[in-house]
């Protein structure tokens, strides 16, 4: 179980996972993906891009990028299929099971693909292909070392692009400064709104991680430096949770006031608006925090018999949002 929560925190801090959250009003695929650590470490969020129509091949750069993206996506799908097949009907795989499968099924050559994207970027850091290459590299980066250089290029050349909305979720972990700039001064309303929402997500993930690291031993904390970095870890240890919570609330209020109609996942089944997202988040902040009285739940049990949460008043209740996956 301890592994499980560590995994959850890792998930919460991965830009990829956060993007999955932003791009789906509910992350139906997430719970299934959570126990599959090796797959999570892969760039899982590529699939939606693969479904897009091929870009108009205006020049050889965009063509090279499109080929790269397709090759990587095909390799990833093949890897996932092979992984699932190797897993078979093993419902509760152990670390050893994962290791065995990893030995048989080889992960796609992420470094090779990244090197090709980096080359495109080195040739020209300013055009739309460069923007896509940055996106690709942020999604595929294994460590934090490439991040700052990529963010610097984004800030120098791409801040005014309308496509920056899609970039926001990649900025959760290390790009809060850029998010603040986008929220304040992007020329595009939807980019400003999505930057706001992502800032709130990012602060929320800080709170969760800060709560998680409370009371951890120095040894455990050292283990987290790898993915958090020294500076971030130190900041999280000192995080003022109440102030951060208030900041999140202010951001969501701004979203409701200024960006309510901005659509997310427009045209898909999961279409929603920033207003709805922010509204739900505000409801949670105001009604579902420690110290608040629970809202009523009225529903039916697994045998279709009606009951209410308030039937349990007088008892201490462990409320478990669960699924058998």
């Amino acid at each position: 179980m301890k592994n499980r929560i560590l995994l959850l925190v890792l998930v919460a801090s991965l830009p990829i996972a956060c993007r999955a959250l932003e791009e789906s009003s509910q992350p139906a695929a997430q719970p299934k993906a959570q126990p599959m650590a090796p797959i999570l470490s892969m760039p899982v969020a590529q699939a939606p891009q693969a479904e897009k129509p091929a870009p108009v091949l205006a020049d050889s750069r965009s063509e090279r990028f499109a080929v790269l993206e397709k090759e990587q996506s095909d390799a990833l799908n093949a890897y996932r299929d092979a992984f699932r097949k190797a897993l078979g009907d093993n419902k509760n795989p152990t670390q050893e099971d994962y290791q065995k499968i990893q030995e048989q099924v080889h992960q796609p050559d992420t470094e090779g693909y990244s090197a090709r994207a980096q080359k495109l970027l080195d040739e020209d850091a300013t055009d739309i292909t460069a923007f896509h290459a940055i996106q690709f590299l942020l999604d595929n980066a294994r460590g934090a070392e490439t991040g700052p250089a990529l963010l610097a290029l984004l800030e120098k050349h791409h801040m005014d692009r309308p496509e920056m909305g899609d970039m926001c979720s990649r900025l959760v972990q290390n790009g809060r400064g850029l998010l603040e700039k986008l929220a304040a001064s992007s020329p595009h309303q939807d980019v400003r709104g999505r930057a706001c929402c992502t800032m709130a997500d990012s602060l929320k993930s800080d709170i969760q991680t800060a709560e998680y690291i409370q009371g951890k031993s120095q040894q455990e904390l050292d283990g987290m430096k790898g993915w958090l970095g020294d500076e971030k870890l130190a900041a999280l240890q000192k995080l003022d949770v109440d102030a951060t919570q208030k900041e999140i609330e202010r951001i969501y209020e701004r979203v409701v006031n200024e960006f309510s109609d901005v659509k997310l996942n427009a045209g898909s089944k999961r279409e929603t608006t920033l207003g709805k997202r922010a509204g739900t988040a505000l409801y949670e902040i105001r009604n579902l925090c420690v110290g608040k009285t629970t809202p009523e739940i009225e529903g039916v049990d697994l045998d279709s018999v009606a009951f209410k949460l308030s039937d349990y008043r007088g008892k201490v209740v462990l409320l478990d949002f669960w699924g058998n996956w």
């Binding site: 179980m1 301890k2 499980r4 929560i5 995994l7 959850l8 925190v9 998930v11 919460a12 959250l21 009003s25 509910q26 992350p27 139906a28 997430q30 719970p31 959570q34 969760q208 709560e211 739900t280 988040a281 409801y283 949670e284 579902l288 925090c289 420690v290 110290g291 608040k292 009285t293 629970t294 809202p295 739940i297 529903g299 039916v300 049990d301 697994l302 279709s304 009951f307 949460l309 308030s310 349990y312 008043r313 007088g314 008892k315 201490v316 209740v317 462990l318 409320l319 478990d320 949002f321 669960w322 699924g323 058998n324 996956w325």
Partner: protein, 108 residues
Amino acid sequence: MYPHERSLVEKYKNEPFAIVGINSDTDLDKLKDVRAKENISWRSFWNGPEGTSGPIAATWNVHGWPTLYIVDAQGVIRYKSEGANEEAIDKTLAELLAELKPTAGAAK
């Protein structure tokens, strides 16, 4: 999660304690098999045919599973977490159940 929950049900069988689930599976028949096999004796709301995006999880803004809340006897939220931290859950439950015992109050 199931073994821990079963142990809590057993440990607190004579105390004012209950587990209430909000289940987001879509295949109810399969779920009932699991319930029998895993000896899940506690009651769950069903989140409906939309699974994870059903109405209860949506209202509660749940985006990670399991998400756990501990609610005291007055209905006040005293603990919440995404992910099952057994130690923290055990500690909180023990404290809240102790609050309900008159002897605990008198001893102070």
